[in-house]
Amino acid sequence: MEKKNKVTFGTIFFSILSIIWLTPIFIVLMNSFKRKAYISRRPFSFPTGKAFVGLQNYVNGMKKIGFFQSFGYSLWITVASVFVIILCTSMFAWYITRVKTKTTTALYYLCAFSMIVPFQMVMFTLSKLADMLHLGNPLGIVIVYLGFGAGLAVFMFCGFVKSIPLEIEEAAMIDGCNPLEIFFQVVLPVLKPTCISTAILQTMWIWNDYLLPYLVLDITKFKTIPIAIQYLKGGYGSVDMGAMMAMLVLAIIPIVVFYMFCQKYIIEGVVAGAVKG
């Protein structure tokens, strides 16, 4: 009897805590329907009567920052970079794990080392180098992401490749497969869970990344969503809080949708990343 009561108490306690946890998002959502002047003055009042402006903030905000364009750039950069990172680093990791020479060992440690180097250490030189090599566009930045994101991805793949028994690959080799066929037909399917985990971690990083694209991209032309939101704040003297709130909501929606569909993988990815790290 006592146990049952406790369980109910726990559920009630966490239900209340969960509601509090989500309140910040609801407050932003609520304010996105309010007239500018009412937002800063009374952020906690409901959008009723004179304060309510319908979707006007959304229309304004989208016009100001070209939301659909930014969304497109963000989506393209994230999807392309994650795809390239997964493909290239899994091949790289498999090779340097299977072929043991001084060079490949050095490469492994170099990748592990790069994980603890903060972005500020390389940001200035990286942005100049990217500029010299004309990588300041949505295509070139994929190479930059592959380079800077390689450390974690290689590290995670290497950890997993080590646990694959060699026999399967040797059997394929005796059957006359070349290394490319072995990798794509035998190794990659086994690596699938690690691919998903790595992809999730990289997606969360690249989609939300502000500083790297800000410094590398030609931001007069290409603004990702975080850049566009920061621009809304910086570029217009007094901030249009209405547009700001609406754009915050639009920035959160894709994330929530992504989370709803991939929740299982996201949580597995986080745990896998933690174990490997």
């Binding site: 369980v7 726990g10 559920t11 966490f14 239900s15 969960s18 946890w21 989500l22 910040p24 407050i27 932003v28 937002i39 952020p43 290239c88 091949m91 790289f92 090779y95 072929v99 170099l110 990748c111 790069s114 603890i116 180097v117 903060p118 972005f119 500020q120 250490m121 390389v122 940001m123 200035f124 990286l126 100049k128 180098l129 930059v144 592959l146 380079g147 390689a150 450390g151 040797e170 080799m173 490319l180 990798f183 969360m204 939300n208 990344d209 502000y210 500083l211 975080p226 939101i229 920061q230 704040k233 809080m241 700001m244 920035a251 929530v256 996201i266 949580i267 986080v270 933690a274 790290g277």
Partner: protein, 281 residues
């Protein structure tokens, strides 16, 4: 594996990642170290000046202030995030209706990016402080606790997931055995659960520590250092030195090198310290 036949394929397997890694990391890193000893504005006009950039770093009061502010913030946020995440994980691994839903909710803020997070909390904290005729930028103390709240909201869910995975890995027999031996709840927590969770504690404190130290987006969006750079953290201080003060690029790079050494040293010391407490299973 036949190494010889593999080596023929090395250009396909190794080259793409290696080339990108060279552009994205190796060259910028080496150039970064070199440039920290130079005076320059555009990389190509660099002139060696020895250690003078490093001297200037420590004579710069904003850097020293940012260093202490960051250190204090990191300590507070590591403690609060881990204590809350651990407590919630402990409670949510008990049999209870709705645990999955609660986990989903707590993890959610983690997916929102730093810039967006900063503006969400700016609205809310300014709204609350408004009742007392204050704003976030009134003093660095408000900015400090604002950031602590923000980072707790963002990271508790992430750390909670790692702790939950760790708790679920503890063999049930261990706890049962301790119960039979007459251990109290507190004793079980202290002598069984926490020692068994050391790997999770290692990784969570590592992540919160480095995240706290390297924090940039949230800091920039929430207060951007206001009032007068008093709520500025190290990463933002370095950014401002590079892009806010002409002629200070070399000093900015020297700061970045110091920052890198600090982050690396802290990460290694922390890993050593908590790893040594892990028990072998």
């Amino acid at each position: 594996m036949n190494t010889k036949s593999m080596k023929k394929y090395s250009p396909i397997f190794v080259l793409p990642t290696f080339a990108a890694f060279t552009i994205g990391f190796i060259i910028p890193f080496i150039m970064g170290i070199y440039l920290s000893f130079c005076k320059f504005t555009t990389v190509t006009d660099a002139k060696l000046v020895g250690f003078s950039n490093y001297m200037k770093v420590f004579q710069d009061p904003t850097f020293v202030h940012a260093l202490w502010y960051t250190a204090l913030f990191t300590v507070v946020s590591v403690l609060t995030i881990n204590v809350f995440a651990f407590t919630i994980a402990m409670l949510l691994t008990k049999a209870m209706k709705g645990t999955n839903l609660f986990r989903t909710v707590f993890f959610m803020p983690n997916l929102i990016g730093g810039i967006v997070l900063g503006y969400i909390w700016q609205l809310i904290l300014n709204g609350i402080l408004g009742y007392f005729d204050r704003t976030l930028t009134y003093s660095a103390t408000y900015g400090f606790w604002g950031l602590v709240i923000l980072m707790n909201w963002q990271q508790i869910g992430y750390m909670m997931i790692i702790y939950i995975a760790g708790i679920q890995n503890i063999p049930g027999e261990l706890i049962e055995a301790a119960k039979i031996d007459g251990a109290s709840k507190w004793q079980i927590l202290k002598n069984v659960t926490i020692p068994m969770l050391m790997p999770s504690i290692t990784i969570c404190s590592f992540l919160t520590l480095t995240n706290g130290f390297k924090l940039f987006d949230q800091n920039m969006a929430l207060t951007n250092g206001a009032p007068s750079d008093k709520s500025q953290m190290l990463a933002l201080n370095i950014f401002d030195t590079f892009y806010g003060r002409t002629g200070w690029e070399g000093v900015g790079q020297a700061k970045a090198v110091i920052f890198f050494i600090l982050v690396a040293a802290i990460a290694i010391i922390q890993l050593r310290a908590t790893r040594s407490k892990e028990v072998q299973q």
